[in-house]
Subunit: 182 residues, 2 copies
């Protein structure tokens, strides 16, 4: 089974691709799609376009069975959640166009799956990502390592339990509808 983890961000979107056989994990690829800095487009629509094209290329290359993202009901303010929603929308669209199921996990679920402890700190998660994937160093930047942690979480879920993370349910959508300003 091949799993893609994606960690969306308005500046940097991390991705990580792993192969899972039983309880053995192999890192196939990881990296980031950066939309800031020299040569990057300044307009949001063009940044979204870059994320979409780059991620679609990665998915084409590795043909994963799942795409895993963090569920982000915890976002703390309207402006940042709106912007993050734009990026996330484009990532979910990439998955839909590639015919991939999308699985969501909370940060707590990811930490618990990777370290055994839901309140583990970032360093502990990164150390375990390196260890579980048998890498020489901790994958950098942290956006890539977070994406690999998401993929590992699904790898454990697939291998060791029937738990498959959270999808946006009809009741979530109803709740949003109720509050939807549009």
């Amino acid at each position: 089974m091949i799993i893609a983890g994606v960690d969306p961000g308005s500046r940097v979107t991390g991705y990580g691709i792993i192969k899972v056989e039983g309880n053995h994990f192999q890192c196939l690829d990881y990296g980031v799609i950066s939309t800031t800095g020299r040569g990057c487009p300044s307009e949001l629509k063009d940044r979204l376009h870059k994320i979409f094209e780059s991620l679609s290329d990665v998915l084409d290359k590795h043909s994963p069975d799942y795409l895993v993202v963090e569920s982000i009901f915890y976002a703390r303010n309207v402006h940042s959640s709106l912007l993050l929603g734009h990026v996330r929308g484009v990532i979910l669209l990439s998955a839909a166009r590639a015919g991939l199921p999308v699985i969501e996990y909370t940060p707590l679920e990811v930490k618990k799956a990777v370290t055994g402890y839901g309140r583990a700190d970032k360093e502990q998660v990164q150390t375990m990502v390196k260890r579980l994937l048998n890498l020489d160093t901790i994958p950098k930047p942290h956006d890539a390592s977070d994406a690999l942690a998401l993929a590992i979480c699904q790898g454990f879920g697939g291998a060791r339990s029937s738990k498959r993370g959270k999808r946006w349910s009809e009741s979530d959508l109803k709740q949003a509808r109720h509050k939807d300003p549009c």
Copy 2:
């Protein structure tokens, strides 16, 4: 000049296409892309896919010069702004892939452009949309009429002033970065 207005929503996305010659407006097309009800996909990623494909078809058909959306810095809660962000991200991506500039207006700017009064009610806006486009009836549902109002706002902006609405600027993105939880 041909202008596409789009009113994104998690359930219903309205669109309206107008042709502007001087101060003469002609309605070319309007409608909604619905993602709820019988036959609609239940998963968010598939709803986004439907919106993307349908809107891309509309843009292909009419080859507009601009795509106009409402700026939504006013969204009131994290959950609905996150969901709306997903839809909006996919709409901006459609524009980017079609090579279209994206223009944003606040609700106040749209009302002021269409009725002359920034606090006009919905009925007044709809009446003026019907009048300005020389239609027999008010375009229904309101999502389509709101989308046409956005297009008209840009039509007036293009015809009568140099005002071109708001784009997401570098400073907006910086502000979001500052608050970005990811």
